[in-house]
Symmetry: C2
């Protein structure tokens, strides 16, 4: 289990770096938005990722403590159980980030940021697949404690209608999900508010 905690630390440090990069990409879009809708859209995603950053900044040092103190990692340590729950929420956070990046790839795909966003997208996807395995192991070891309410995305729920899910997030096949810049997966059709109203 010790290795799991080192791996979690690496995942969280990596995604924290990516959040900073992503916020830097969003910032000029907020500042130079052409109308209130565009401004709110980018502000909203920025704010959600900044919230995730706040959570990670609090979680990472706590994780370090349990990394250094194997003996404290017990099912009767209330603080440790809460850490397990917080880690499970960051699984949802990584899934959500993946969707933020995929949304961004639609509107930034012809910009200088596409390559960096694609890199973050693929790195996040790999980390997301990894954290699911780690949490599954932690749940086996600690009797399901690493499952906070809100840790399971719609895409992974068994009791949700399939048509509300997005296929590419419901598979564990890591290779299938890799994106490359300008790949043919991207829809040729452009999303407009007009098209949303029909």
């Amino acid at each position: 289990m010790s290795n799991s905690f080192i791996e979690l630390n690496e995942i969280f440090l990596r995604t924290r770096e990516n959040i900073h990069d992503f916020m830097a990409i969003l910032t000029p879009r907020i500042e130079n938005a052409q109308d209130d809708h565009e401004r709110l859209y980018y502000h909203h995603i920025y704010e959600e990722e900044e919230q995730r950053l706040d959570r990670l900044n609090a979680l990472i040092p706590k994780l370090d403590y349990f990394n250094d103190n194997d003996n404290a990692r017990t099912a009767d340590n209330f603080e440790f159980i809460h850490i397990l729950q917080d880690i499970s929420l960051e699984k949802f956070g990584l899934h959500n980030f993946l969707e933020h990046l995929d949304l961004a790839l639609f509107t930034f795909k012809d910009t200088e940021h596409a390559e960096n966003l694609t890199r973050m997208r693929n790195s996040t996807d790999t980390d997301y697949q990894a954290i699911k395995v780690i949490l599954s192991d932690l749940n086996d070891t600690f009797d399901g404690a690493a499952s906070a309410p809100g840790s399971v995305p719609t895409d992974e729920k068994e009791d949700v209608n399939q048509h509300l899910k997005i296929d590419k997030y419901t598979t564990n096949d890591d290779q299938q999900q890799k994106y490359v810049v300008n790949d043919s997966d991207k829809p040729a059709k452009q999303l407009t508010v007009g098209s949303l109203k029909k």
Copy 2:
């Protein structure tokens, strides 16, 4: 403080009802999306609100317990302090819901859902202003314990550049923020992906 907990319970029951309404509005948009971008956009907001629903479904019964047991509400009760932190995260949740509803009002404004979305928007705004006061009081009473990492939106942070915030979320003036359907605040210009790319 007892009244605060009753009021929190009412706020959470109300917003839970609104989440169900909002998810029902989003569902046909996901099912009938015209392309992958539109489908991901509505799926993503649906998923975030469903996560909030999962959190609230876990939090409301815990809140009921502390509503019924005044004596358990003490600073040295670890579970109670965690409840205070969870409540503070639901303050962020209400702020985020407000932005989801405002985003929806852009794309649903000419539909049969506009009135219901506007009702939810104004109700959420009122509840958001109320929970800020309640949390401020709880923080005074419990030495700042009702402030989880991630409880403060960008719009309310003091160390954030003003140009990254949205003005209407940074004021406490409740009256200024009320919306009516078809009011003149809404931009005439339509958001298109094309406009986002410039």
